[in-house]
Subunit: 450 residues, 2 copies
């Protein structure tokens, strides 16, 4: 493991050339100089065949197991497919912390899962992993690791240090020491620093901090991320319903959750339905994007029907402002929905304040709507369109903006109420509804005025 | 400081009622039971007058200083405006770590800044803060704190422990111990655990880890966030150009950066130009949204011009599919731009691979375009539109999707190349361009065919 390296295109091309020429000794030297995260980044940028060759050159078993954790799901799957259950157990699982091990086993096919479990030699490790596999992936239990250092409240600091030496083998990074009673109930915590700076015969219960924040194992992982972020926690203990200590979640696991969540919301808003990256294949990218495009098309066909209902032939000049009305409805709807989705996801918007938020959006919609409709009135008339058409566009725009703002607020709040991901309401979905609704308002007003 | 509390609307209304009845002793009890982060959340949800009353009831000076850090900028400004420079120095700054203190002073007006600095009694604290104020807010130097524990490479563990006791007063959480040489150059680090478990006469240089990741003070804060996330770091040392240890950045500071960045990208994509939250005022929300709406309107006016150029009166049925063409161009453009923006922001897309990414988007565009254009051909003809119109819509749709995909990829990559935030290219901007372009393609093909 080493310092960070800048992995750019040139670097990857050099590695590719070395792989093609089978310069394994040179590659082994490179790997020895690289940090695990950089090895993973290089593998992500190689073809499957090259990736396998490169991966097999990692000499240290612990390193090659850890690299797997840093990879995307599909890359990991490719690298694991050639390994037997026994190899996975001995070379990968035994070298990983319980949370990472459980993640990897959880991804395997059901029959392979059991086979791998049966090959883990360290019985305690196997039982810990099997405990973790019981929790749903998106809960605190699914995030936590079993590795932690715990001491009994009645011990003194000397006993603590002794016990810690015993436990510390399994625990890579000690953030904090948990204090439990005889029933394993979590009572408090103690920092290493405190242990280091206190007299050796003091009992733990006298020096522990008792104001602790913990979560239940069933807590949703987004809530866990919000709690760790809000209270600035580096590590968070997980307890069962009786308050007994089960495991701990570290901030690095949660950073990924928070980031994935934000990226997912963003992708939803942009009309991308699966978690994709620019490095994914053309087919994956197409598949992730097609569903929203089909929704957009359906909306477009509805739009065509709406236009068809009205007598466009007599008022064909109305057609000129179709794009403007449709676009503005979509834009305003997306803005409103984005504010709601973001407020819900970072917990700053409380569910139950639906009515208050709608009133506020009504205000924003009216204000934006009036400004825009006045500008468009002047602009359209100034550009030489008839006064009738200019007034039609202006009034319609106000109505469309207000409706779109209310719709964009109401739909995600309603989805959330029924436990559906509110981010669904952003992006093409809301745009499409507002497009159709906007056209209807526009033509209806147009026919009344013109 | 205490356990976490669920702050919901009912809770806030109860607090409001207590404030209005001036039940200060009851409120003081409540505050004593609350975690700092929860006190801050309550204050964010109160009116300015109520917030000031509530804030002044926080008995512990260290707590009231820390609450300020957790607040939004404008709330903090409101609470600080009544305090004199001397009060800010004595009650707030003296109770905060250097990084937080520097953030607060950095937000003050220029003349107040100097006055507050002159009132800080702890000379060392003042000089540390003044060092930090030299760094730009969005760099590693602007994020770091000066508080850290460092030991000399030649000391043994006994000397280390002695020195740590001296330094530990200033450092709230000890994540790691930095090892430096006589010139303060960062050589390695040591965990408390290692110090705890090693024999007392061993020299530090023999037990330190030397594979360390550090950043320069001038490094951009988004890069710092990416580095900490990639290498799973809880704390990251900051050095100057000569490798001398300047400070440390902890993961909680960086989590905010990563989150703000993701939220900013999302807001940009949704057409919101300032950092707003659902709790902001109607006017703030309006102002943040208006600029993009104006861009959308401008696009709409261009669209009207494009439609006006063509002889719509003769082919008025073309108007029916204007919404479909415009919407699809917008949707595809947003999808493509989102993938590029996200790839750039999490560093998975390398700049320099523009050409490769464009080729890939061409593939995705062609694939999506062909699927959509075949469906629309069948659907339009099936719904009774003329074969000419159906073919026009189908061919235009293919062209629009391919163009929008290329545009959506090209524009953010180009912006990034010139160091402009690529997120600008998502949302209303790209939609508007694609709307106009799409209409042009559509009518041009329509006139050729019909």
């Amino acid at each position: 493991m080493s310092d960070k390296t800048e992995i750019n295109n040139t670097y990857i091309e050099e590695v590719q050339a070395l792989i093609e020429n089978k310069e394994s000794s040179e590659l082994i030297n490179i790997i020895a100089r690289l940090h695990i995260a950089d090895i993973a980044e290089i593998i992500e940028n190689l073809s499957v065949k090259h990736a396998k060759y490169f991966y097999n050159l990692i000499a240290n078993e612990e390193d090659s197991a850890t690299v797997l954790i840093e990879l995307e799901d599909d890359t990991r799957e490719n690298l694991l497919e050639n390994l037997s259950a026994k190899e996975i157990a001995a070379e990968v699982i035994e070298n990983l912390a319980t949370d990472d091990a459980a993640d990897i086993i959880g991804e395997l096919a059901e029959d392979k899962k059991e086979e791998v479990m049966s090959h883990i030699e360290d019985i305690e490790h196997a039982s810990d992993i099997s405990d973790l596999l019981c929790f749903a992936e998106d809960t605190a239990g699914g995030l936590m690791a079993k590795e932690l250092i715990k001491v009994n409240k009645d011990w003194n600091t000397v006993q603590c240090l002794k016990e810690m030496r015993k436990q510390a083998d399994h625990v890579k990074t000690v953030y904090t020491i948990y204090v439990v009673d005889d029933d394993d109930k979590l009572l408090g915590l103690m920092s290493l620093r405190r242990l280091l700076l206190t007299e050796r015969t003091t009992e733990v219960k006298n020096i522990m901090f008792t104001d602790i924040i913990s979560v239940k194992a069933t807590e949703n992982n987004e809530d866990v991320a919000n709690i760790m972020q809000k209270y600035d926690l580096v590590v968070l203990p997980v307890v069962d319903d009786l308050g007994r200590l089960l495991g701990r979640i570290t901030v690095d696991d949660v950073m990924d959750v928070a980031k994935e969540e934000a990226e997912k919301d963003y992708q939803m808003a942009s009309g991308i339905s699966e978690d994709v990256e620019s490095s994914d294949s053309v087919w994956e990218l197409t598949r992730a994007r097609l569903p929203w495009l089909l929704i957009g098309m359906l909306g477009g066909l509805f739009g065509a029907k709406v236009i068809g209902i009205f007598d466009l032939e007599r008022n064909f000049e109305l057609a000129c402002f179709i794009p403007l009305i449709a676009a503005m409805g979509g834009n305003v709807g997306i803005q409103s929905a984005a504010i709601v989705v973001q407020g819900l996801s970072n917990d700053s918007l409380k569910i139950g304040s639906v009515f208050r938020q709608l009133i506020k959006e009504l205000g924003v919609g009216l204000l934006n709507g009036m400004i825009c409709s006045l500008i468009i009135l002047a602009a359209a008339f100034g550009l030489g369109y008839s006064i009738g058409l200019s007034i039609t566009v202006s009034i319609s725009l106000l109505a469309v903006i207000v409706f779109a703002a209310l719709f964009g607020t109401f739909i995600p709040l309603t989805l959330k109420k029924y436990n559906i991901d509110p981010a669904l309401a952003t992006g093409p979905f809301i745009t499409t509804i507002n497009d159709v609704l906007g056209l209807f308002i526009y033509f209806w007003i147009g026919q009344a005025i013109l």
